[in-house]
């Protein structure tokens, strides 16, 4: 069955969403991610949406869900590469994507994660902040 590939990069997971996702695919992605965060004890998930031309409220909710589920599993989520027209549309739509960190690209996303997570080594595992 068709799935979106998840790459493991050290303690991070990288997902690149390229296709116009239908619902099943989105659900499968959420499941796969949660499983892999646990399996690899990942500290963060980077979701690259730089080729996504449409983000509707369904996709928005998916991203917010992934962020929430990751947080419960003590991992951070960063969504990177949102296109300007998508951002403008989301603002108009009224979607705020609260709880989702964003960065301009994968590189900046990783910089952000390094800074954010570096202070946490040795901190409570159960502290979800």
């Amino acid at each position: 069955m068709e799935r979106i590939p998840i790459l493991k990069m050290g303690r991070y997971l990288l997902v690149t969403v390229q296709v116009d996702m239908h619902d099943r695919l989105a659900m499968t992605l959420q499941d796969d991610l949660t499983n892999q965060i646990v399996e690899h004890k990942a500290r963060a998930v980077l979701i690259d949406i730089s080729t996504l031309e449409i983000v509707d409220s369904f996709i928005g909710r998916m991203l917010a869900n992934i962020a929430a589920m990751s947080r419960v599993l003590d991992a951070m989520t960063v969504v990177v590469g949102m296109q300007p027209s998508v951002a403008i549309t989301l603002v108009e739509l009224g979607l705020s994507l609260k709880g989702v960190y964003t960065a301009l690209n994968v590189e900046k996303g990783m910089e952000f994660l390094t800074t954010s997570l570096s202070g946490e080594d040795g901190a409570d595992a159960g502290n979800t902040g």
């Binding site: 949102m82 300007p84 403008i88 301009l104 690209n105």
Partner: protein, 288 residues
């Protein structure tokens, strides 16, 4: 107005087409004497022939409903004539005369053919006038639309020219806004800033409104939307250059800036941007 079925006009047009064409082109050349050189006789004849053919054919089909498909070809010829003459510098009136000057040749033939029936001449003559008046006005509309397109294009170019995005430093962009902001312009501004953010990879953008005389609710909303969009993309915006009057206006209007950072001057904003980028400006002492 005469019914299409009983009108003699289509027949007269078909019968005397060649003569009407000759008369008409001669008239045009005469009235264009002062503008000779602007159009060659050959071009005038060509345009007139093309239009007259289309006109005669359309009139044969449906004389009165100019919106029907039968008149599409004639309208297209007229639109082309209007545009080409506008380019050559003809005024819309001069171009409309192209159509109006067709009246006399037709009316002359009309009177010759059915002159003895006074009522018919009056009523058919009226039809000719009506049709040609509408077609003449059509050429003016085409001209008008052409001008509007030019103006629109120039406005677009002006908008693009007046919204330069400047790279102040690595990771810091500045957008100095000058002049009044209307809805259309603010949208162009918003889009070009966001595109610049993606292209440069700068995560901080300073929107400086020192040069903006007034800010109303709509403009404020647009600015806030821009900041929100940038944030969704992963960049932060600082709004600087808020003059005391604008600060008052914003409060009076009840605009909630939320957690958008604002600074009085571009310099302050730049200092903050550098700090956030993990940089600082240090003075070099002891240089001679």
């Amino acid at each position: 107005m005469a019914q299409t079925g009983t009108s003699k006009i289509p027949d007269i047009l078909a019968k005397y087409k060649a003569d009407i064409l000759t008369d008409w082109t001669r008239q045009q050349l005469e009235s264009m004497a002062s503008r000779r050189g602007a159009m060659r006789e050959g071009d005038i004849t060509e345009q007139s022939t093309e239009f007259l053919n289309a006109f005669v054919e359309a009139a044969a089909g449906n004389l009165t409903d100019l919106r029907s498909e039968k008149w599409d070809a004639a309208r297209e010829v007229l639109a082309a004539v209007s545009r080409s003459r506008a380019k050559k510098g003809f005024t819309p009136s001069e171009t409309a005369m192209f159509v109006f000057s067709l009246k006399q040749p037709i009316l002359t033939r009309l009177r010759a053919e059915i002159g003895d029936d006074v009522d018919a001449v009056a009523s058919e003559g009226w039809t000719v006038n009506e049709v040609l008046d509408r077609l003449g006005l059509f050429t003016m509309e085409v001209y008008q639309k052409g001008r509007e397109e030019v103006i629109f294009r120039q406005q677009q170019e002006l908008m693009e020219l007046s919204t330069p995005v400047v790279s102040l430093w690595e990771n810091v962009l500045a957008l100095p806004l000058i002049g009044t902001l209307d809805s259309a312009r603010t949208q162009v501004v918003m889009e070009s800033l966001l595109q610049a953010i993606v292209k440069s990879g700068a995560a901080i953008a300073i929107i400086d409104i020192t040069g903006v005389p007034t800010v109303d609710t709509l403009v404020a909303q647009h600015l806030l939307k821009t900041v929100a969009a940038a944030r969704l993309m992963g960049a932060d915006c600082i709004i600087s250059g808020i003059r005391p009057q604008i600060a008052q206006t914003i409060v009076h209007l009840g605009v909630d800036l939320g957690d958008v950072i604002t600074k009085a001057t571009l310099a302050d904003a730049f200092a903050l941007a550098l700090q956030r980028s993990g940089m600082m400006v240090v003075s070099i002492k002891g240089r001679s």
